[in-house]
């Protein structure tokens, strides 16, 4: 998933970013509403992690603005405001979930995965693919005929994008989004390289190539 993290507490943002990167997510970080608006205009993010108290305004106003513009980007609010009225306000503004600081990074990952599943239209974290491949999206476990197989973070990031939308063809551009770390260089054949590696680990029939369009599982 490509995630935009809007958080002005840099040390917290650093830890969250590292955690999500280690989990195979692509994370961009900014610390103000203005920067967030610019980045949201230029990139299709899968999830927005939004702090409420930002130096140039309230994060909730950014979210309201996005919803007014018709944006359906999933949003999880990260905030130190723990009152139920704040939570109700956040959910009413269009947030999908609300995580109060301090939070467990693993819980953040679980909430992210749950929100992403809800948006993919398939809230079930267990997916069965061709070739006897079973995927537990929540636990990030892949079994081939009952035997666990591990993917690297980037391999998982790419595979996760496809598994969340089984049967749906994703363009090379869409898959690149999952691999991008903001500012990182992506070679023209990066997607092909990672698809090839995943096929080697999970079997060549798991990912299908739709010529001229992209890939699907």
């Amino acid at each position: 998933m490509r995630i935009l993290l809007v958080e002005d507490e840099l040390m917290l943002a650093d830890a969250v970013r590292d955690h999500l990167l280690a989990a195979g997510e692509a994370v961009d970080h900014c610390d103000s509403i203005v920067d967030a608006e610019i980045m949201l205009r230029g990139t299709n993010y899968d999830v927005l992690l939004l702090d409420l108290n930002l130096p140039d305004g309230k994060g909730i106003e950014l979210l309201r603005g996005l919803r007014r513009q018709g944006s359906t980007i999933p949003c999880i609010i990260l905030t130190a405001q723990d009152q139920i009225s704040d939570r109700i306000e956040g959910l009413n503004a269009g947030a999908d979930d609300y995580l109060v600081k301090p939070f467990d990074l693993n819980e953040l990952s679980a909430r992210l995965a749950a929100v992403a599943r809800r948006y993919s239209g398939n809230p079930n974290p267990y997916v069965e693919l061709d070739g006897g491949v079973e995927v537990d999206l929540a636990g990030r476990v892949i079994l081939i005929d009952g035997v666990q197989t591990d993917l690297t973070s980037r391999e998982w990031a790419l595979f996760d994008q496809m598994v969340r939308r089984p049967g749906q063809t994703l363009s090379k551009r869409q898959l690149e989004e999952a691999l991008y770390e903001f500012g990182a260089e992506i070679e023209s054949n990066t997607v092909e390289v990672y698809v090839s590696r995943i096929r080697r680990k999970l079997g060549k029939d798991v990912i299908k190539t739709v010529r001229g369009v992209g890939y699907r599982v």
């Binding site: 830890a15 955690h19 280690a22 109700i88 600081k101 467990d104």
Partner: protein, 476 residues
């Protein structure tokens, strides 16, 4: 505080007004009676003088024409009395019953008595209703009083005869008292009526005071709205303005205190969040067999405990700052809030039947309680249930009626010794469960703020084990 009814403003005003009115009435009545007495005496004396002057000539003439030596002449009845005579004869002496000397007038209402006496004091002539005995008044011109007569003496003839006209004092007193009674007897009825009117008037007059009293009584931590008056009264308006100013200051102080705790929460949570996140990263990034791994894990655990404890302390600070009630004093629908709190637990992983709750049962749940305070209460009770009842069945949340919530869990019953201290701060019934020991103290404080009630049961009603907390919410 119990206040005696006689210490009420209404009672005091009524009593004093009544006393003042009655006192003035008595004084007025006394002065009036005195004036009447004085005027009546004057009138009666004038009548004696007039009678003496007008009768003297007739009496002298009658004496000259009818005098018989050694006999007291009795003046005949006036001509108009003939018609009033009740028998057929013309004898005027048939009404001489007053010759007994008691001088109380006759039955025809003629109370004027007179005697014509010589210088020796002998009675030469008398009126029909007078006695033969001379009046006890001295033969000296002017007024004199005897035991039962008011006598006016004047000289007549050549100055050797004395005309004495008298009126019984009993008649005068009777006339006076009849006049006074007829004048003042209505007051006997008017005084009670006036007292009732005073009671009613004072009661009506104090209605704005009672209204302001009720308004002030309705104010409290949860209701600091300014007191509004439709038709301000000057004296009360001063009090109301002062009370409103005081409530405004109190509201500002409370808001500042609450704002401080809220800001403190924010300021404290963020660095803990940073420390926890960085430590968790450290744990994940260190090799499993690294010597610092264990310490990093211990640090992570300590930070989590610090996070939970700080959250509870901030909740307690808020509770003690008086959060809980709604400033408008209106009931709030709390069902959706309860559902949201439970949803939070489920999102955090307490699903798979760990909590049993029927959202439909909470549709009617209302109370005069702030959503945040209510959420803190139920969150703490559910946390307790999950912590202490884990592995012994689900936590059951039941809403009864519109104002009662029960949170019950299984597990061993709390010992009677621990049970009595559960609502105290830092008291834990089970130290292994790892709670802060503040949850129930927080709930108890908020319930007290909102006039609600927290009741604990262990074992659960109709069960041999477990624990149940019941919140009875206050409705306005």
């Amino acid at each position: 505080m119990n206040i005696k009814p006689q210490n009420s403003l209404q009672f005091t005003l009524t009593k004093r007004l009544t006393m003042i009115v009655v006192l003035f009435w008595v004084i007025g009545t006394g002065l009036g009676a005195s004036a009447i007495h004085h005027e009546m005496e004057e009138g009666a004396d004038t009548a004696l003088v007039e009678t003496s002057r007008r009768t003297a000539t007739l009496v002298l003439d009658y004496l000259v024409t009818h005098q018989v030596e050694g006999e007291i002449l009795v003046m005949p009845e006036p001509a108009f009395d003939v018609a009033d005579d009740d028998d057929s004869d013309s004898d005027r002496d048939d009404h001489e019953s007053d010759r007994d000397g008691d001088h109380d007038g006759d039955e025809n209402g003629d109370f004027m008595l007179y005697q014509l006496r010589n210088a020796n004091g002998e009675v030469l002539l008398r009126s029909r209703n007078a006695s033969d005995t001379p009046f006890e008044a001295a033969l000296k011109p002017g007024f004199a009083d005897t035991d039962n007569l008011r006598v006016y003496t004047s000289t007549t003839g050549d100055g050797d005869l004395f005309m004495q006209v008298a009126e019984p004092t009993g008649h005068r007193d009777e006339a006076f008292w009849e006049t006074v009674l007829s004048q003042f007897s209505p007051l006997i009825f008017l005084i009670p009526v006036t007292i009732l009117a005073i009671v009613y008037g004072v009661s009506r007059g104090l209605a704005p005071v009672r209204q302001v009293r009720d308004e002030i009584e309705a104010r409290g931590e949860g209701n600091l709205r300014p007191i509004e008056q439709d038709d301000p009264i000057e004296e009360i308006n001063t009090i109301v303005t002062a009370v409103n100013r005081l409530m405004s200051k109190l509201g500002s102080a409370l808001n500042a205190e609450r704002s401080f705790t809220a800001n403190s929460a924010h300021e404290l949570r963020t660095p803990i969040a940073v420390a926890l996140a960085q430590t968790q990263r450290l744990v994940l990034e260190l090799p499993k067999d690294h010597p610092a791994q264990k310490r990093a894990q211990q640090t992570e655990e300590s930070l989590k405990r610090l996070s939970r404890l700080s959250e509870k302390l901030l909740q307690l600070a808020r509770a003690e700052a008086g959060v809980g009630t709604i400033p408008t004093g209106e009931n709030q629908k709390l069902g959706p809030t309860l559902a949201l709190v439970i949803e939070d637990f489920e999102r955090a992983g307490a699903d798979h039947g760990a909590i049993i709750f029927d959202p439909a049962s909470a549709c009617d749940l209302i109370a005069n309680m702030d959503h945040d305070a209510f959420a803190i209460c139920v969150r703490n009770l559910i946390e307790n249930g999950l912590k202490h009842g884990g592995g012994s069945g689900p936590v059951e949340i039941t809403v009864i009626g519109s104002d009662t919530i029960r949170v019950a869990n299984g597990g061993p019953a709390v010992s009677p010794k621990d049970f009595s201290e559960l609502k105290k701060r830092f008291k834990r019934s089970n130290s292994k469960a790892g709670g802060s020991g503040l949850g129930l103290a927080i709930v108890e404080t908020i319930m007290r703020n909102t006039k609600g009630e927290l009741t604990l049961y262990s074992p659960r009603p109709d069960k041999a084990d477990g624990f149940m907390a019941e919140l009875r919410l206050h409705q306005s």
